[in-house]
Assembly symmetry: C2
Homo-oligomer: 385 residues x 2
C-alpha cells in the first residue's frame, strides 16, 4: 500500500535516512560514542537556530519546551506580554496562567499578523513585563508574524522575546542572534523531518539571567540541569536516543542542502501552493502567509470537513482542517520539511477534484499555476537526498 | 559490524518488530486510524500494569512521569513519605523538594530493601502524609522492594502509594490493582523493549481524588488534560507517534508470549546471572535482588571502571557501572526486556575473561553455572519472536 501524502503541519514525512536511523538497534546513551553524537547534534541545531547560544534538547512535544520557557524565565506574579492570533499563541497564554504569570494580551485577529507597534505600546504600558511571548508561524492560521520587527521593538527594553518557532523553523526565516530573539522553541516533527518526541530551546545570555532568578518550581524542564549536563555533552534525563540519532541524519540533510537552500525551496513550495489555490479561486486565510503552511478559506457552500475527507479517501492526500472555531472554515496545506514539487502537485490535483466532488467550482487550473511557478525555479525545486 | 550486546538497565535491545515499526513512514496522529491504535495501546498497557484504571501516555523520559505524579497529587506544603535506598528513590525526594513538598524520608541503606514496617512507622508519625513514594526496582542498586508489603501497609490509611516501576515493570511482579498500588510510573526503554521517549502512569480512583485537589501548578504533565483527551483516545499534546506505533508491536510480543511467561523468563535470566556471578565468587550487592538487573560487588583489587571497559572493548558486551558514590564499587548486569540465554552466557563469558584481565581470579565456572540453570527450564528460555 502506498504511503499517504502527508501535507499536514506536523508530523511531516520522514526522509529515508531518518527512517533508516530510527530502525537501527539502540545504543547506550552514557557512552563517549553517544556524547560525541549529541555534541554534533547540538552544533547542528545551533546552525539552524542561527545562534551561538546553547540549544537544549528535551524529550517532550513542542509544548514541553514552551513550558520550559515559561517556568524557567518567570516567577509567579510576573507580568508577560502575549501576542495572540491563534491556537498556539493562546497556548502561551494558557501556560502563563497555569504558572501564575499575569498575562498582558496583545489581541490579533485570526488570520492577521501582529503589528510590532502593538507590542511597543504594550511594553510602554507595562514596563515591568519581563517577557514577550510570540509565535513565528501560527500553525492554526498559517500566518507568519514579523519576528524581526517584534525583536527590534522588544530589544529596546529589558523584556526578553520568546518565540514559538515549532512549525516556523526551517520554513520561515528565524535569525535568532542577528535579530535578537532571546528564546526560540521548536519541535522535531515539522521542518526537522523527524517523528514527534523531541523539542529544542535556545536561550540568549540576557534570557539566562532570568533563568537564574526565576522562582517557578521546575524539575524535568529545569534548564539549569540541562546546562550543567551539556558541559559533558549529555542531558540530565534519558534522551529519546533513537530520535537524537535520526536527528543527526536530518541535520546532515539540511547541512548538505544548505540552510538557505532549504528555506528557498520551502518558499517555492509555498509560492506554488498559493498560486495553485488562488488560481482555483480559493482565498488565502492568512494576511501574511507562512512558507510552512498555507491556510485556505473554504468557499461558501462547500463543507470543509467533507472536502478534506474526500481528498484523503480518493487520493490519500492528507491536509489538516481548521482547529477550534476555525473547524470547517479553513483547511491547512503544509509544505515544510521533506516535501517536494510532486507532493504539492498531487495535493493540488486532489484538492481540485475534491472541490468539484463537494460542490465547489474551481475558477481555474490550480495545478497549471503551480507548475508555472516550479518551472521558473528548477534549481530550487531540486531536493538532495 | 555486529551490534553491541546491551546488558544495561535501559535502554535495552530492540526486537526486530519494534525496529521495523520505528522505521515506518510517519502517519498523522489526529486520525481515526491512530486513535484506534492508541486505544489498543492503552488497553495493552493496562494489561501489563495489571490495572483497570487509566494508563496515561506522556512524551517524556521516565522522570517526566515521576514529575507528573508529584505535581498532580500534591500541593505545596503537603507532607510525603519517601522511601530511600538509591539514586532513583532520591529522585522522588528531589522532585518533592523542587515542588515545595515536605519530605519525610525513610532511610534505607544502598543495597537494602525497605522494611514495610519502617513505612508503617513513618505513617503513624506523620498521619497527614498524603503519599508514599517508593520504588519497585531500584535501578542503581539492583534491589527489588517489597511492593506488596508496602501497598498493604499504605492501604491501611488514606495516603496513596506511588511507585517508580520504570525498570521494574515486566521484570518484577507489579500487581497494581490486586496489591492496591495507587500510582505506577514506567518508561519505554526497559522491559517494554522500546527506545526511550515515552513514559506511562496509572492512577487509581482514590489517587484521582488527589489529582482533582492538588494545587501545584502544571500544564504539560497535567493529568486532567490527559484524562479529558483519553475520552477521544487521544493525548492533549502531540504523541511521539513512531514510538507509540512501535509500542503496539512490543505489546503484541508480550501478549503473544503471555505476561506470566515474560516474567518467568526474566526471573530465569536473573537466576542464571546470579548463579553465574556467584560461581565466580562475586558477591551480589542487592540483599533482595531484582529480576531486572543484577548488581554485583567489584572484588577488592579490581578496578570496577576498568572491568566494564575491558568487557566492552574485548567482547562488545556493555554492562553498566555504579552511579554516584557507587561508581567503581559495583557493576550492573541487566536482563530485562529482549534478552535471551545467549546474551546472558555472552555476558558472563565476557565478565569472566575481563575479570582475569583486570587481576581478579574467578572462583569457579560462571558460564557453566548459568548453563545449568537454563538446562533446567528449557521452556522458559524460549523467546517467541
Amino acid at each position: 500500500m502506498k504511503d499517504d501524502i502527508l501535507l499536514t503541519p506536523g508530523p511531516t514525512p520522514l526522509p529515508p535516512q531518518v527512517r533508516e536511523a530510527l530502525g537501527r538497534q539502540i545504543i547506550h546513551h552514557r557512552t563517549s560514542q553517544y556524547r560525541a553524537l549529541f555534541k554534533r547534534v547540538v552544533q547542528g541545531l545551533q546552525g539552524i537556530f542561527q545562534t551561538t547560544t546553547p540549544v537544549f534538547c528535551l524529550t517532550s512535544s513542542g509544548t514541553g519546551a514552551m513550558e520550559a520557557a515559561v517556568v524557567n524565565l518567570l516567577s509567579p506574579g510576573d507580568e508577560a506580554i502575549v501576542v495572540l492570533g491563534g491556537k498556539f499563541a493562546e497556548r502561551w497564554q494558557q501556560l502563563c496562567k497555569a504558572y501564575g504569570i499575569t498575562v498582558v494580551p496583545v489581541p490579533v485577529a485570526y488570520g492577521d499578523a501582529a503589528d510590532p507597534q502593538q507590542v511597543a505600546q504594550a511594553l510602554r504600558a507595562h514596563p515591568k513585563a519581563k517577557a514577550v511571548f510570540a509565535t513565528l508561524c501560527e500553525t492554526s492560521t498559517g500566518v507568519v508574524h514579523d519576528l524581526r520587527g517584534l525583536a527590534a521593538i522588544t530589544r529596546e527594553g529589558p523584556a526578553v522575546l520568546v518565540v514559538d518557532a515549532i512549525s516556523g523553523l526551517l520554513a520561515d526565516a528565524c535569525k535568532t542572534d542577528e535579530w535578537g530573539v532571546d528564546v526560540v522553541v521548536t519541535g522535531s516533527q515539522k521542518g526537522l523531518m523527524l517523528p514527534p518526541g523531541l523539542a529544542f530551546i535556545s536561550v540568549s545570555d540576557r534570557a539566562w539571567t532570568l533563568v537564574e532568578q526565576a522562582k517557578t518550581p521546575r524539575f524535568y524542564t529545569d534548564l539549569r540541569l540541562y546546562k550543567k549536563s551539556m558541559t559533558d555533552d549529555d542531558t540530565p534525563f534519558t534522551s529519546a536516543v533513537s530520535l537524537v540519532i535520526a536527528l543527526e541524519e536530518a541535520l546532515k540533510r539540511v547541512q548538505q542542502d544548505g540552510l538557505s537552500h532549504v528555506l528557498e525551496r520551502c518558499a517555492l513550495m509555498a509560492q506554488a501552493t498559493r498560486a495553485g489555490v488562488s488560481a482555483m479561486g480559493l482565498p488565502l486565510f492568512a494576511k501574511r502567509p507562512s512558507n510552512g503552511v498555507t491556510a485556505v478559506t473554504v468557499p461558501t457552500g462547500v463543507d470543509g470537513k467533507q472536502l478534506i475527507k474526500v481528498m484523503y479517501d480518493t487520493s490519500r492526500v492528507m491536509v489538516a482542517g481548521g482547529q477550534g472555531e476555525m473547524a470547517g472554515k479553513i483547511f491547512r496545506f503544509a509544505h515544510m520539511g521533506y516535501i517536494g514539487a510532486s507532493d504539492i502537485l498531487a495535493g493540488l490535483t486532489a484538492l481540485e477534484s475534491a472541490l468539484r466532488a463537494c460542490g465547489g467550482a474551481p475558477a481555474g487550473d490550480g495545478v497549471a499555476a503551480a507548475k508555472a511557478v516550479f518551472s521558473q525555479a528548477p534549481e530550487a525545486v531540486a531536493q538532495k537526498v
